[in-house]
Amino acid sequence: MEGGKESQREGPILLMEGITKIYPTGLVANSNVTFEVREGEIHALVGENGAGKTTLMKVLFGLEKHDAGNIFVKGEQVNITSPRQAIGHGIGMVHQHFMLAPSLTVAENIVLGQEPRKGIWFDQKKAAETCIDLGKKYGLEVDPYAKIADVPVGVKQRVEILKALLRGSEILVLDEPTAVLTPQETVELFAALKALKEGGHTIIFISHKLAEVKEISDRVTVMRSGRVVGTRNTEEISIRDLSNMMVGRDVELELPRPKMSAEDRREVRLLVKDLKYVRDNKDVLKDINLQVKSGEIVGIAGIEGNGQAELVEILTGLCECHEGTIQICGEDATEKKPGEIRELGLSHIPQDRMTFGVAAEASVAENLISTRYNKPPISNGFLLNLKAIFATCLDLINKFEIKANDPKQPVNTLSGGNIQKVVVAREFSTDPEVIIANQPTRGIDIGASESIHKYLVNATENGAAVLLISADLSEVMGLSNRLLVMYEGRIVAHFPDAEAVTEEELGLYMLGVKHQEPDEIVASLMGEAG
């Protein structure tokens, strides 16, 4: 707090002091956090998923009530209990999940809450003019009459920023703004942020991508499991040191790839041929051909939203609207329902844990048995065997090191990492032939991530065929034997040896700058098959 006295005669523009936030589930998301931002700087707030960054910003923006601590804006203590008050103090926020109404237009979304009126009527024209003027002023131009549902992500984000600027925000919080952007869009965003800084705005930039943080920020504050680890000048700290601060130790850069010789990977367990999926007359998936053999992890790299989610839904039977064929362990699975596909030996770690992975209010035990509730020993086909359930669950809880006091405890009282372990325990303990792991470690702590990587590799070495989808490059690159890259619904590259690929090269394919010829890809896939 003492630092930089001479440059800051009036002290920091924002000071959050001793903030503690406990969620109703009893989870301490912020613990005595002190966070200070100077006027006119771009201040990065970094930390792993679940570190508490979003929570801290929600407190600042009046979306969550803190249990202890004080907030000072421009040296004055303020009491913020609603976004309205936060806005009143010149704070604007661009949320991780967009806060837009899809059926309304760009202009309507931007002026919402302070609409121009003629009498009681909403003045559509004035609203559009406001947007155009504002866009010109900050170099963030948008089509005011477009419907939000129809515009790309980058535009939605621009709309969010304009929303905040229209409300006179001096302090602009951006929560992981680049997570959803293409590289080009990121470049544009950074240019806009720098322009805003020139114009005197203060920006809080949340990210866990350290290269970006290095590029854009002046100072950086690191959070880890609800606490602040420290604040540094960005220029004076290396990415390596930053990542150490984030995780609290050296990151294990070498992930334990399954060790099996190519000869051992023989049997094709998952085979996809000419898969195609059209939605709203757009090709969401096109010409997807792939195969996964027993004993290997095939990774799919790609920026989110390039068809990975849909591919997984189709492979697991959750979406039944596609052309092409799918075979699992030699059997046709194209038209099958999720239950039937599971019968063929497929396990699935879903991307969205709380929607698909668990029933949040059901007990740990109920969540652990959801894929075997009608099989012995859990059930004789009709009656449940409570003793067997209890025994199975205790066994899984021990084996997978799930931190739960009691199998009867509702699963939502566990931490994110342990909830994911419940999912993994359930999916890995049925001796699956094929595992589809979609973002298996997203949003969970390092410890749990490492365990999950370990389980994944073990299962593979025991003969499972694994398809791993991850937006985390170090994860797919470190774990996979072979790598595929998806871009705009197609497979644009196949690397038979994942170890021989560099991150830079992969990046070019992910961005659509480069692509292998379709024939080339199929040929190399077939070569594998031979």
């Binding site: 929607t355 698909f356 059901a362």
Partner: protein, 352 residues
């Protein structure tokens, strides 16, 4: 977890207290002698043996419809068709009771089966409309309640009516079809045993069978259920058929146990009462008889009050509504719950 259980009990207690208080205030507003009236209301079921029996009798149909609603609510289906299912079940049992000629016990069983079948069909319709065409079971079941009411009234009026009687009643049911009233001076009948079996069945079904597990998981998170491989559409359909069968059985039991002829001119309302019963029981079949008794107590108390005072029995509707609103209100007393939780967190923190 313990905290949550204790809290639920506390909240239910406070809700009932608040509801009674509001009921009392209303009584004060409309009555010349509110204390006397409310006294009768509270003591009603205990004033005579006959009334005590009436209180027990009233709980029987409430338990049946409460069970039916608990099942569909457990599956996350807002099917409010118990009203029509109960009614049509009673009509079906009546028809079988009038027209079939069978030996005693068998006749009764056949009548019960008729009720079950009619109720199951009535439950099947919203179920299949939801499973196949995704039509809201809430709206369709409400519409069907009227359809079954009219259908039942048509059947009774045009096909089963006793022309020799002035009022609109059916022909008498054959003696062989009726359930025995086995306690002298009361109308408590052997249907009680059918009821107990049904309660046990529902409890075991829901908590001890794989199908019950499917039902509960579908209700908790349907996406999760689907992802896990549970055939959610067939679960949605079968649970509504089962619930319909139970409500239909309830109608049949009520008919055969209490009445000699079909004599309802409007739907007796047990289906919607079933919603109150199931809600209070948190959809747990084992608690349904308890909450049904509670509701029956209020009902009989209100009837007694209406006899001895100037307050009409419908006053009880106010009490019921307030209870449902408060018992299911997540935020009601949640500040208190939060303090309890915080204390727990602190305790476990200081313990470790």
């Amino acid at each position: 977890m313990k905290t949550d259980k204790r809290f639920e009990i506390l909240r239910t207690g406070v809700a009932i207290g608040v509801a009674l208080l509001i009921g009392f205030i209303v009584t004060c507003l409309v009555s010349e002698a509110p204390l006397k009236a409310f006294g009768y209301f509270l003591r009603g079921p205990f004033t005579t043996t006959r009334r005590f029996a009436a209180f027990l009798e009233a709980a029987i149909p409430l338990t049946f419809t409460g069970l039916a609603i608990s099942l569909v609510f457990s599956a996350g289906q807002f099917n409010l068709g118990a009203e029509g299912q109960f009614f049509i079940g009673a009509v079906a049992a009546t028809a079988a009771g009038i027209y079939l000629d069978l030996p005693p016990v068998i006749h009764t069983l056949v009548c019960l089966l008729a009720g079950i079948a009619a109720g199951a069909v009535a439950g099947f319709i919203p179920g299949i409309l939801k499973a196949k065409w995704n039509a809201s079971e809430l709206v369709s079941s409400l519409m069907l309640n009227y359809v079954f009411l009219k259908l039942g009234m048509y059947l009774v009026t045009y096909h089963m009516r006793d022309q020799s009687v002035g009022a609109l009643v059916s022909l008498p049911l054959k003696e062989t079809s009726l359930l025995t009233q086995f306690i002298p001076n009361t109308r408590i009948h052997t249907g009680v045993f059918i009821l107990l079996i049904t309660v046990l069945f529902c409890y075991y079904y829901l908590f001890r069978t794989s199908q019950g597990y499917e039902v509960r998981m579908t209700g908790q998170n349907i996406e999760f259920a689907r992802y896990s491989g549970i055939p959610v559409l067939s679960v949605i359909l079968s649970v509504q058929v089962l619930a319909g069968a139970i409500a239909g059985l309830g109608g049949a039991v009520e008919m055969l146990g209490i009445y000699k002829r079909f004599q309802w001119l409007a739907s007796p309302g047990y289906g919607f009462d079933g919603v109150i019963v199931a809600t209070l029981a948190k959809n747990n079949p084992a608690l349904v008889p308890v909450t049904a008794l509670f509701l029956a107590y209020l009902r009989v108390g209100a009837d007694v009050m209406a006899i001895y005072s100037d307050v009409s029995a419908e006053m009880v509707a106010i009490i019921q509504a307030v209870i449902i609103l408060l018992v299911t209100a997540e935020a009601f007393l949640s500040g208190y719950r939060r303090r309890m939780l915080l204390r727990e967190v602190k305790q476990s923190a200081s313990a470790s």
